[in-house]
Amino acid sequence: MRRVRGVLPVPGWEDGMAMPGNTGAPVASVKGLKVTFERAGEQIFALRGVDLEIAPSEIVALVGESGSGKSVLGLSLLGLLGHNSKPVVEGTIEVAGAEIGSLTEAQLRRLRRESLGAVFQDPMTSLNPTMRIGKQLAEVAGSAEACVELLRSVGVPDPARRLRAFPFELSGGLRQRVMIAMALAGSPKLIVADEPTTALDVTVQAQILELIRSVRDRFGTSFLLITHDLGVAATVADRVVVMYGGRVVETGRAPALLGGPEHPYTRALLRSRASLDGSGPRRLSVLRGEGVDSHSDLPGCSFAPRCELAFDGCSATPVLGSFGDHQVACWRAGSAHSPFPEDDPGEQAPAETPRSRGLASVKINDVAVSFKVGRGGSQLALKALRGVTLDIEPGGALAIVGESGSGKSTLLRAIAGLAPIASGGVEIGAGGKVQMVFQDSGASLTPWMSVEELLEERLAVCGVRDRQERRQRILEACDSVGLYRQLLPAKAGQLSGGQRQRAALARAVVVAPEVLLCDEPTSALDVSLAAIVLNLIADLRERLGMTLLFVTHDLAVARVVADHVAVMYLGEIVEVGTTEQILKDPQHPYTRSLIDAVPESGRLPVPLKGEPASPLSIPAGCSFHPRCPSALAECGERPQILKVSPLSRGHFIRCEPVLEELTWR
C-alpha cells in the first residue's frame, strides 16, 4: 500500500466543514463500560460503568488523577486492554462504526490502522530507538514523500533531514510531533492522546496543544485528550469529561464546566490547582483523604469518602444528570454551592512558635559548572551554569524556574555539593546545613531500607547517639510531615507517591537543616497531592525557619511557595525579582513568553517559537535572541548583562533593549 494517506486534505476542509459541533454519527461511543482487572489474585475495578460519546472533529479532554481509570478508557477505545491482566469487559465500545468486543484480532488491527491513532506520554518509549524516523514513519505512511509531507504537516522543520534521524537525536517536542505525524498517517477518525504534553516544557507544551487544534481544524480528526491538568483541558478541549474512581463524574462544554463546576470533586480539583492568578504566597486548598480504593466494588459514589458534602444518600451510585448547561453525577448537585466556602484555606497549619528564624543566608557567587561530554578528541564542554550570582536572605524562599536544560537543577546540585563547581563559590551563612528533596522521591529512598532505618541513619550521622532520643525524634519528624507512624517499617516500594514524598521530607528535616533545597518535588504528583506537599513544605519552612530554594518548571507553583523568583535560560539568570515583580510585571522577553505559555482557563496560551539551544553550542550574543520575539539586529552580537531595573529595586533583567525602554518610561 504505497499510497499517500493522511496528508490529503479532507474534501471541503477549507470551507470549515470539519469544525467542532458538527453533528453526525459519533466517532466513538462507549456505553455502560465496566473493566475489571486481576492483579496478584485481587480484582481491580478500573472502570465502573462509563458512557462517552465523541463527535466527529471534537476534542474531548478526559481529566482525572491517577487511578481514575482515564488511561484504561483510552486503551479500551484502542482495543489495547491486553490479556496479561485478564480484563473482564462489560458494556459496548463502538469506534468508527465497529463494535470492538466483536472484532477478531485481525479486524482490530485493521480498525486501528485505518481509523485510530495513538499518542502516548513518552515518545521516547513509543518510538523504536534503533530505527530511523523515516523508516518508522514509512511503515504507516508508505512512501518517503508521504513521510516528508506528514512531518511538514505537524510542523517539523527541515523534514527531509529529520527522516534520517534516530529518535534520541530529536528533542522531546520534536519526538512528540513525530508521534502525532505517525498517528495521523492513516487519516484516522480518532486519535487517543494519553498525557501527550506531560513530559514537555511549558513552552513546548503550548506548541503541541496548538498543533492538536490545528490538526483537528485541518483534517477533522477527533481527539480524546487524556490529561491530569485542567489548564491543558481548558485551553484545547471542546468538551471536558472529569473522571473519578472509574466513573464519569461531570461532563460538559469546556467553558461552562470549568467556569461553573458542579461536582465537588471538580471543584476541589480546580481549587487545589496552583494558578498564576491571585497574589502573594498562599496555602492551596486540599482534598482530604487518600485516592480511590479500586479494590472494592461497593455501589455508591466513589468520591463520597473524601467529599465534604457527602450524606447517607451517597451510598447509592449517582447517575449523570443534566444540571444547567452540563451533566453531573452527584446527588448533591445544586446544593453544592451554598455550604462550600469559596476560598477555604485548606488544612490549617498547626500554630506553633517557630523554633528558629531565618538563620542562614545563601550567597551564590558567580558559580560556573561545566561537564565534559564525549571522549578523546571530540570532547566538548557542556556549560551547564555560566556565572550565576544570587543572594538569598536568611529565611527567604527563592523559586528557580526555566525550561529543561536551563541549568536550574544543576544550580541546586552545585549548592548541595553534588555538582563540581568550576569557578565561583557558594556560601551558606552561619555554617548552616543543607538538605535536599529530590524530584523522584521514591528513587531517593534506598529501596531495601525502611523509612525508620533511613531516618535513624541520618540522626546517627548527625551525632545523636542515644537510642531513646533517636526514636523520639523520628516520631516527631513523622508527625511534622504527616506520615503515619505505622509506615516507619515500610520500604519505598510499599509507600504511595504522597507517602514517599513525606518520607523524603522527614529524612531531610529530622535534623532540621538551615537551608532546604527542593528539586521539582511535586512535578510527578497528582494535582491534589501536589497541593498537599506544597503546603507541607511551606509549613515546614515557616516552623523551622529554613531558607528555601525551590526548582520548578511551573510558574504557578513558584507563586505558591516563593517570595522571590529567578528565571534561568541556558545556564544564566535572565531575570530575578520578587514573585510579584516577575509574575505580574515580567520584563525579559523570555519570562513573558514563559508566562504566556502557561495554559490557564480563559485564554489561549501563546507558544514561544522553537526550543532552547543545546548547552553545547550556546548562541553568541544574547543566548535567547534566536527565539526572542522582539530581538534586534545587535542582540546577536552583544552578550547581555544582568542589570537592575530602573523602575523597581531588587528587580534584575538581562536585556539591554528592555532596560533602555524602561528608562524612557
Binding site: 548541595a416 553534588l418 543543607v434 538538605q435 535536599m436 529530590f438 524530584q439 523522584d440 528513587a443 531517593s444 529512598l445 534506598t446 529501596p447 531495601w448 531500607m449 533511613l454 541513619e457 541520618r458 550521622v461 548527625c462 523524603a504 529524612r507
Partner: protein
C-alpha cells in the same frame, strides 16, 4: 541478563527433563518458591547422611555385585561388596558441600574485588578488572589439574584449584550492579544525608547486588557439581576408597554392561544435584522477577 547469557551452559546439563521442569517452575510462583527452597532441603539431607545411610560407605557389607533391591541393598553392592546407596549418599554429600564451599569462597573474593573496583574506580578499577580478565581466561579444570599436580592429589587441593578460577564472574556482576546502582538518586540522597563512603557501599549499594548474586550462585551449583565430578572422574579427587561420585562412575565403568548399577547410581546422584541447583536458580530468578 548476564546471568542467562553466561550460565546457559549449566542449564543444559539436565537435558529435556530439566527444560520441562524449568517450564513448569517458570509458570507457577508456588513451584518457583518450592524450587528455590530445594537447596535448603538438600543441605539438611546432606547433613543427616551419617544417620540416613544404612551402611558404612567404606566397609564391605555383603557379597560383591548384589543387584539393586536384593537382600536389603536398595541400590545393590559394588565390586567389593560395599553398599552402593550409602556410597552414593556420602558421595552426594561430599559433592554438595564441595560445591557450596567453592561458591562461598568465590562469592567472598568476587564480591570484595567487584565492590572495591566499582567504588574506587579509576586505575584501581582498571587494574582489578584486568586481573579478573586474566583469571577469567584460565580454563578451570586445567588449572585444577596444575594445582593438584603441584600440591599432590586430594579433595582440598582440587577445591583450591577450582576456587581460584571461580570468582571472576561474581566480581563482574557485583561491579556492574554497583556501578548501575551508584547512578541512582538514592545514593546521592544518602550522600546528602551525610553517610560516609564505607557505609554507603555496605548499606546503600551492596544489598542491591544480592538478587543477581543469589540467582547466579544457585545456578552455579549445578555447574560446580558437574565440574568437580568431572575432575574426580579424571582421578583428581579424594584418593581411592573415599566415596566420590565422579571417581565411582569412572572406576565402575568397566562393569557397565554386566553390573550397570555400580556406574549408573553415582551418575544419577550427579544428575539429581545438578538438577537441584538449576531448578533453584530458575525458581529464584522467577521470584526476583516478580517483584
Amino acid at each position: 541478563m548476564a546471568i542467562t547469557g553466561i550460565y546457559q551452559s549449566g542449564q543444559v546439563s539436565g537435558g529435556r527433563l530439566s527444560a520441562k521442569v524449568s517450564e513448569v517452575v517458570a509458570q507457577n510462583s508456588k513451584a518457583s518458591l518450592a524450587a528455590a527452597l530445594l537447596p535448603v532441603a538438600v543441605t539438611l539431607v546432606a547433613l543427616l547422611v551419617p544417620v540416613i545411610a544404612p551402611y558404612s560407605p567404606l566397609v564391605p557389607a555383603g557379597p560383591a555385585f548384589v543387584p539393586p533391591g536384593h537382600s536389603g541393598f536398595l541400590l545393590g553392592t559394588d565390586s567389593v561388596g560395599r553398599d552402593e546407596l550409602s556410597r552414593v549418599l556420602y558421595g552426594m554429600r561430599a559433592s554438595w558441600f564441595s560445591a557450596l564451599a567453592v561458591i562461598a569462597s568465590g562469592l567472598a573474593i568476587g564480591v570484595t574485588v567487584g565492590a572495591v573496583a566499582a567504588v574506587a574506580g579509576g586505575w584501581v578499577d582498571a587494574l582489578l578488572m584486568r586481573i579478573t580478565d586474566v583469571f577469567l581466561s584460565l580454563p578451570g579444570p586445567v588449572l585444577a589439574i596444575a594445582v593438584v599436580a603441584a600440591l599432590g592429589p586430594g579433595l582440598v587441593h582440587t577445591l583450591i584449584g577450582v576456587g581460584i578460577v571461580w570468582w571472576p564472574f561474581y566480581a563482574r556482576i557485583v561491579r556492574g550492579e554497583i556501578r548501575a546502582l551508584a547512578a541512582r538518586p538514592h545514593l546521592e540522597a544518602a550522600k546528602m544525608s551525610g553517610v560516609g563512603p564505607v557505609r554507603r557501599t555496605l548499606r546503600h549499594l551492596l544489598p542491591g547486588t544480592l538478587p543477581a548474586l543469589v540467582v547466579t550462585a544457585s545456578l552455579d551449583i549445578g555447574n560446580l557439581v558437574l565440574t568437580l565430578a568431572g575432575l574426580s572422574f579424571l582421578g583428581l579427587g579424594a584418593p581411592a576408597p573415599a566415596p566420590e561420585l565422579g571417581a565411582m562412575s569412572a572406576r565402575n565403568l568397566t562393569f557397565l554392561l554386566q553390573d550397570y548399577w555400580t556406574a549408573v547410581a553415582p551418575g544419577a546422584g550427579i544428575v539429581v544435584l545438578a538438577l537441584v541447583g538449576n531448578l533453584a536458580g530458575d525458581g529464584l530468578r522467577n521470584l526476583m522477577k516478580d517483584r
